[in-house]
Structures are given as structure tokens and as C-alpha cells.
Homo-oligomer: 214 residues x 2
Amino acid sequence: MAQKDTVKSILNAAEELFSERGFAETSLRNITTKAGVNLAAVNYHFGSKKALIQAVFARFLTPFCEDLERELDAVQARLDGKVPELPGILMLLSQTALRAGHDSPRRLGIFMRLLGLAYTQGQGHLRRFLQKEYGPVFKAFMRLVTAATPELSDEDRFWRIHFMLGATVFTLSGADSLTAMAEHDLGKGSDIAQVVDKLIPFLASGLNAPHQAG
Amino acid sequence: MAQKDTVKSILNAAEELFSERGFAETSLRNITTKAGVNLAAVNYHFGSKKALIQAVFARFLTPFCEDLERELDAVQARLDGKVPELPGILMLLSQTALRAGHDSPRRLGIFMRLLGLAYTQGQGHLRRFLQKEYGPVFKAFMRLVTAATPELSDEDRFWRIHFMLGATVFTLSGADSLTAMAEHDLGKGSDIAQVVDKLIPFLASGLNAPHQAG
DNA sequence: TCTCGTTTTAAACGTATGTTTGAAACAGTT
DNA sequence: AACTGTTTCAAACATACGTTTAAAACGAGA
């Protein structure tokens, strides 16, 4: 039980601190202090800081992707050849994501911030790791989206998917400060789940936009 | 001429390196080496690394915001009370932005990457600096958008503006790698200007989406 | 040509980082 | 109770960082 506790508290501390400050700005001393373990524990249990970063992602993404894969298969089977509906796909994705941070909805925000960092911060090793590990599930998801948007050219669909990804990662990343801003500006805060609800019609409408301006 | 050259090459090197690796991951030694100047030059001319970061943003944003302010005033005058059109506003913004990196269109991508970093990376001093310095222009822009979307609730508009910001920053940030991906996946690359063209209908349609899913 | 303020330079400073080490503490087995 | 493999611990290691310093080089005005 001792080992699991140490490993778990390191992962918890690292997840939170990385999401708050970024990877380079978070030292192993920050992490081990917050986790209440010895400094050397990270290198003992994970091998290096890079490996710890990957482990933080794996702990969230592996169950999430397994879950998503099951859901995608189920949808595919239920459809039985018919054309899937876009908002349904998006809601499936968002609900799987919300479920992945099962203990607290705040966890999804934390992880989105990490995902944003993975893109923006150097960390080439991370991008390679994510691609190798979770690329196939993403491709399966894309096949469904493609089936749901037959009228889009491959090029438009490619770019619009990334517009959607950007809107999602950016706003869910900053959900904490954005809801604080919303509360200050208009007296109405929101939690992550509500932001996701607002996000879906925006994304669905954007993806289906006419080719010209409108 | 000597001083201007040193300052300018430091800013050029810093802008590029920051955008590639982030702030914390880029050392003053990296910057001064790339710029071909002495290590101490940064602290001599800018005072500190933080001040250098702010200077990099100021060099891009100050002319851009002055230009944008002029354009906004011109639109306001031309309207003379009538309701402005959304796609027109977005195109005005994008064209002002493209003009800001006047020498090369790649510059806009670099700056968007920096803007993304400013949000994600710690750098509280940067957010405060940007807010103080460029907040008013953003508010003026928001007034126009509000006038162009009278049917939206303040809450929906708030969130959708940030969805738009996210889609823009994210995709223009990663425009280099994304166009490479597009080229690999579908044999068709794009430059920044073309991505912006694809972005506008997506954003306009998302902002005007019905409140429910659609 | 000499002078004085500005700019550049090489070297050092203090600090913080990721990692390694070797001994101590622990837990399970015989 | 003694042994064994695993985990923790305090301390040290080498390295890289941002910043400072004091002297040298420079450039324009008298």
C-alpha cells in the first residue's frame, strides 16, 4: 500500500501543479513537497521528470480512450449503416470526457489545461507519446465525424475540426478564470458542464457553416 | 545605429525563440547567442527577462492596436447608427492583424503562438501588462460585436467570443504544423491567410448559432 | 586629439534545477 | 529472529539559469 500511495500522491500533485504553472515552471521539489514525499521519489518511481509528465497524461487518457472506444463501437453498431447525427456525436464525446474526471468535474478543466500545454509548450516527447498511444482512437472518432458531415470537403472538415479543438481546449483550459470573468462582468458564473453545454451548439453550427461567409 | 541594431536583433531572436519553446524554456543565453550579442545586453537594454517579454509583445501589439482603433472609428463613423454586419467586422479584424505582420505573413502565426503562451503559461505579469495596455481597444471592438449581435444574451455572447478566440489562437498558433499535417493527409497545404479565410465563416456561424443544439 | 557618456565584453555571483548516491527504515518469508 | 528485496531519506552532485560587475571599446562633440 505504501508504494501506491506515494505514486498516487505524486501524480495528484504533479497533475495540479503542471496545470497551474506549466511543466518547466514546476520543479520536482514543488511536486514532492506538495505530495508529502521525498524528492528522490520521482526519479525512483518514474525514472525522470519527462516520464512523470507522460504518466500524468496516461493516467487520464488511457481510461478515457478505452471508454470512448467502447462508446464509438456502440454507436457504430446502433447506426447499422445510417448516417450519424453531428450533435449526438459531440454530446457523446463531451459526456465521455466529463465522465473521465469522475470524482470532480474540475478535473476535466485541469486536464484540458494540460492538453493545451502539451500543444503549446515545447515537450516534443509528449506530442510523440500522445500520437503513438492515442492516435488510433482519434482516427476512429474522425471516421464517425466524416460520416456525419458528408457534404464537407476533406479540407474544410480538417480545418474545422481543428477550429473546434481550439475553441474547446482554450475555453475549458481557462474555465476557472473565464467563469470568474463572467461572474464579474455579468454576475453569472458557470461550471465546466455548463460551458460544455454552451460549446456544443457553437461547434456544431461552425462545423456545418456554409463555405462562404455567412 | 549600434544600439538600435542590438535591441532589434534581441527582439527578433526573442520573438522567434519564445514562440518556438515558450518563455521559461528559452534562456537569455539562447536569445543572445541567436541575436549575436553579448549575454549582458538583455539586462542592459531591457532591465530583466520579464521586461524583454513585455517588449516583444509591445512591439507587435502597439502598432496593431493603433491601426485597429483607427479602423474601428472609421467603421463606426461610416455606420452612422445602423447595425454593423458580423462577417465584415471579423474581416476587418483579420485584415488588420495580417497587416500587422507586414513583412511576412508568418509573423502573425508567431505572434498568435505568443498570445497563446501568454494565456497558458504562468506569466501573471504579462496578463496584467496586456490588460492595462490594450484592454480599451478590446472593449471598443466588443462594443461593435455587441451591436452586430443584438439577439444574443450577454452570457452567450461572452462565451462565444471566447470560443472564437480559442479557435483562432489555437489554429493560427499551430498553423505551421497544421498545414504540414494537412499537406500530408490531403496533399493540400495552406498559408496563414488561407486559414484565416476558412476561419471566418466558421466563427461567424458559431457566434450566430441557435441557443439549442443545431 | 582628448574627453565623456554610452555600449559592449568576459568573467563571476548566487541560486535553483534534475539527478544520483549510499545508508537507513520497512515489510514479508523462512 | 535473521535474511531479502523494496522503498524512503538526507545529502551531495553537476549543471544551467538570470543577474551583476568592472574593465574595455566605442563615438560624437569640444
